[in-house]
Symmetry: C2
Subunit: 217 residues, 2 copies
DNA sequence: TAGATTGTTAATCGATTAACAATC
DNA sequence: TAGATTGTTAATCGATTAACAATC
């Protein structure tokens, strides 16, 4: 197995580069130097060059980087040249909102949304109809699913995630308040979105600022 | 101004400690050692002790940490002892889903939801009625708002965020695909939730795994 | 060619882990 | 008291920044 030499910090920055390059492209900018980009993105030019050179030399001395080309290359690295099929587990407000979210723009297509509540069966969500959890195994079996989005409470998530793995799911975007620790095969990929914890970080910083301001006065 | 000596990496872990301690408390666990907690959380015991000792000595040699006490102290550090009022900008699916999200559990109360679309005016969302953006200044003025959640597209966000700052907002939870770079006062706090970029990270890792698997076969 | 800017090596900085004396 | 486990210092590791030779 090829060892993965790229650090998480670098990978986390790739989508951000991709986004800025997209904006530049839209603005009709043809080329950009690491120095210019660093100013826009509020990072060091050094970091940009280091990050990119993990994957190859995409620039040219004396010229900089071709915006379109660099964006395409980062897209390839991120796997955005292929489309990804997703299912959403949970047809509550969050699940439905995510089904309507414009992920298609980047090739992430939601092709199924599931719930356990019979009341929601067949409910129309975007261009889909809510299916029951019992239908999951056969659906997964007959479609190629890359990602399952868990839009359910943590109790359901700890139950559903292993079940989905048994049925072949290899990657999750998890909105529930659990890390799914120790209940999934080690090769399964999980991306957590802990909304409450994001608010807590905000709260911490607000609290900090308040204390600082008090010191000043 | 008291300089903030706590690193972002540490702060990011605090809500997670808080969550695990809450689970332990619910499970009736009275005390826990850094070693025990480290196993559950998949971090080193050293890191836990280092992290906590940034804020004070909450443990006791030979005993460990009292779960209830430690959780309370982390709650204080995170500012969860006070309630926070929030407004949601954007009454689309995401905005409405967030209005119904159980943030109240941690003292984050949504007291207003706004949109620019007259069609949505007065629409019922949870226990609220959608207000128009024009009403924002007077609403902010007559209520104490800690956080504004931006559940709008990036074009609207780059317009609304500075406007909200002018009207006294000091912290944002930003769901739009922009960093709001350079358009806000430096003391304003922003927490970004870039959902598309989370999917891209997933995609990167899926891509990586696929390549690795190919090497093996 | 001269100027600009990359790719890359070396230096610095910060975060994580290890170790252990203090102490409950 | 002896055993356990913290708080904290020291060592290691990794990530970021600086510097500069290569080169377009």
């Amino acid at each position: 197995m090829k060892k993965n030499g790229i650090s998480k910090s670098v990978v986390k920055r790739l989508p951000r580069y991709y986004r800025y390059l997209g904006e530049l492209l839209n603005a009709g900018v043809e080329r950009i130097s690491s120095g210019e980009l660093s100013k826009r993105m509020n990072v060091t030019a050094s970091q940009i060059r280091q990050d990119l050179n993990n994957f190859g030399g995409f620039g040219q001395q004396g010229y900089g980087y071709n915006v379109r080309y660099l964006r395409e290359e980062i897209g390839k690295i991120l796997g955005l040249t292929e489309t990804h099929n997703m299912i959403i587990i949970g047809a509550g407000r969050i699940g439905r909102a995510l089904a309507n979210y414009p992920f298609d723009k980047y090739g992430f297509h939601t092709i199924g949304i599931f719930d356990r509540d019979p009341e929601l069966k067949d409910m129309e969500v975007k261009d889909l109809h809510v299916m029951m959890n019992e239908e999951l195994p056969s659906f997964i079996n007959s479609h190629h699913i890359d990602i399952a989005i868990l839009a359910i409470p943590k109790e359901s998530a700890t139950e559903m995630a292993p079940f989905l793995c048994e049925n072949g799911i290899k990657a999750f975007m998890n909105f529930s308040a659990t890390d799914l620790n120790g209940i999934l095969p080690k090769d399964v990929i999980v991306e957590h979105v802990h909304l409450s914890e994001s608010l807590m970080k905000l709260s911490y910083n607000l609290n900090l600022k308040k204390t600082d301001d008090d010191d000043v006065s």
